[in-house]
Symmetry: C2
């Protein structure tokens, strides 16, 4: 069994890097904080004899040798980047849970047949660079390397520039290699496990999600003398579109999601009708057909309201991640490990995207969830109990050892 106390204290130590006044974490992808977090993690892995590879997207692979190193590794891991006002567990738990599995094996003095690796994927959150999961996305072939390198943050800094500036533009090709099985341990980021009082989620897949930029162009005019009827005001459409998308999500309750995480007005002057509004739109549903229907409806709704108010608009497709089914052998290994250790569990789907969405396209993959307090994530108050943290890591250990010795 893993050392729950050690895992917890590693989580707390990592959380100090980018730690916020409200007890959360701001360690966005490829910042100085990310660099410091990577260095700490690499040091911890090297202390137990692991070796490092860095690929062209800055993804890290920390490898513990097996007894037969010609065999493909078993893979664990997740991401170390956080939201701007993120928590201590999202992603980090999967990485440090992987480390705790390696430490446990190391302390036990055993050498499994297969090598075991922990991956740290670059820019999973999609907060600094859109889209999310771009490190694993390039690795699996969903995006090409040039696209991955060229994505920019709000200040115009590209991923390639950011990788260079923190010293993590690696030389290993960013492409799939043979893997025996991959497991990602994560907090649920939703309320299901907590509400049913079970410590383990056996994750069978991930819902579909689409990201857009809705750009509405109007006519900038003076807020005072210009009659309301003569305006072409982007806010007139924005308010109507947002309300109607919430209503659309409600017609597909309880599973559909509609979120607007960011918005910008240009020129952004109090007494000028905006020339342009740019709003981030995030639509999700576990059923790919319903998500496609929501996509179609969104386009109709945007057109209807922009036409009505004489506005031009553009819907920029930022990301399209269809619903995913995980590998049944991996799901079985997680279920078996859970049952063997006597934990209560629920079979479930993920509402959030994870690097496993992309790895599952090319290597056998599944995930393990644990509850998080009130289902709250992407929030500095994100929390999980030491007991659940330990339980999830024990399940990971069991699933990994089974595959690594098979």
């Amino acid at each position: 069994a893993v050392n729950g106390k050690r895992l917890w204290s590693s989580l707390m130590e990592m959380a100090e890097i980018g730690g916020t006044a409200k007890g959360g974490c701001n360690r966005q992808a490829l910042t100085e904080e990310d660099k410091t977090g990577r260095e700490l993690f690499i040091r911890w892995c090297e202390e137990i004899g692991c070796t490092l590879r860095v690929d062209q997207m800055g993804n890290l692979f920390l490898r513990m040798a097996g007894s037969d190193n010609s065999l493909p590794p078993v893979l664990m891991g997740s991401h170390l980047d956080t939201q701007p006002t993120g928590g201590k567990f999202d992603g980090v738990y999967g990485v440090l849970g992987g480390l705790e599995v390696l430490r446990t094996i190391y302390d036990a003095g055993i050498t499994p047949k297969h090598p075991i690796e922990v991956a740290v994927w670059t820019n999973e959150e999609g907060a600094r660079f859109s889209p999310a999961m771009i490190g694993s996305g390039v690795w699996c072939g969903e995006f090409d390397l040039a696209y991955g390198h060229a994505r920019t943050d709000k200040q115009g800094v590209s991923i390639k520039q950011a990788l260079e500036s923190i010293g993590y533009l690696g030389t290993e090709p960013c492409q799939p290699f043979p893997v025996k099985a991959a497991f990602e341990l994560h907090i649920e980021q939703g309320p299901i496990l907590e509400s049913i009082g079970k410590p383990i989620g056996v994750v069978k897949g991930v819902q579909g999600m689409r990201w857009y930029d809705l750009i509405i162009d109007g006519q900038p005019v003076h807020a005072g003398p210009t009659p309301m009827e003569q305006r072409r005001d982007p806010f007139m459409a924005q308010a109507a579109i947002v309300s109607e998308l919430y209503a659309l999500a409600a017609t597909h309750s309880p599973w559909a999601r509609a979120t607007f995480g960011d918005i910008k007005a240009e020129p952004g002057s109090r007494n000028t009708v905006p020339a342009r509004l740019t709003m981030a739109v995030d639509l999700r549903h576990p059923d790919q057909n319903i998500l496609s229907e929501m996509d179609t409806k969104f386009r109709e709704i945007a057109k209807k309201h922009c036409d009505k108010f004489g506005l031009t608009y553009e819907i920029k497709d930022e990301w399209n991640s269809p619903a995913v089914q995980f590998n049944s052998d991996c799901i079985d290994a997680v279920r078996d490990a859970t049952e063997a250790q006597g934990y209560a569990y629920e079979e479930m789907f993920s509402g959030a995207g994870h690097d496993s969405v992309y790895t599952s396209r090319v290597i056998p993959t599944s995930m393990i969830f644990i509850p998080c307090e009130k289902g709250i994530s992407h929030n500095e108050a994100e929390n999980a109990t030491p007991e659940d943290i330990e339980a999830g890591c024990n399940v990971l250990l069991g699933a990994v050892l089974k595959m690594a010795n098979a």
Copy 2:
């Protein structure tokens, strides 16, 4: 009569300072461009023998001596700052129209009894620093100097710092001095004069206006796993409030105005429900009672929707500029000058705020309007005809000479 060609060419020369690719102007208050514009204007005035005073808010007063300099001056002027995507005429016309009056008097070799001054008021637009008209506002006593100096832009730079950095933190006290009469020449910034085909607006007052920051606080959570019913999402209230404020303005059609010029989401991450939305709200009506009613309704509407979605909120009062009636002697002087020169005119109220709102509290004040193309202002496409530009300036000359020789 004034030299219309010379006035036009001065307007075009000034427009090059901060000139934009789309033919507009970005010469925001207290920037390097504003400094360059001020220097050009001061040089032009000094070429015809005017003397400069700069007050503690960076307001400029350029004085041409009269035959009896113990008499109070007649004042002209407006502002040289622009919107971020502004035009060539808003404000600048009133300043350079004043210069053209002085040049005409200078060329004619006459010396009116009263001295004549052109004022350039700091930060009229309210685009870089809120509220608008703060230079004239401090001068008239509406705001105290400490408040004026402490206002900051979006980057946190204060007016005092900005004044120092462009070298226009003057030593003259920013307070009223005796003035015989003040006239502000301006484009209408609305569609009335153009639609009725008259070149001159005899402006009798200004409508009431209120600025607010509406701050809505929600709970940041993950866009994927979090059920819609469990969210406290500021956008749910924002969309409903915006729609209902447009409906409120429609019930007071055609005079009421509701404008949302800027909005910000925090943390501004695509897959996180915003923790906070901050939206600029601008409400106006010429009838002070109706504006007060709109203010009350706005507070009710914000409360209703924020309560409904479990959100906390704050309405920050940024600015409250009640409806204004101008001085009847000044209005008469403008009407007389218009009639004497045979121009068609309309008596009207202003939909935009102007420095005259504040000067009128302490010195006799009125305004002269000319049409602008399609009523469009606060837009790079802002335009006016050379004929109307000349006509308005001739009316200004007539009104000023009448007062300066009285």
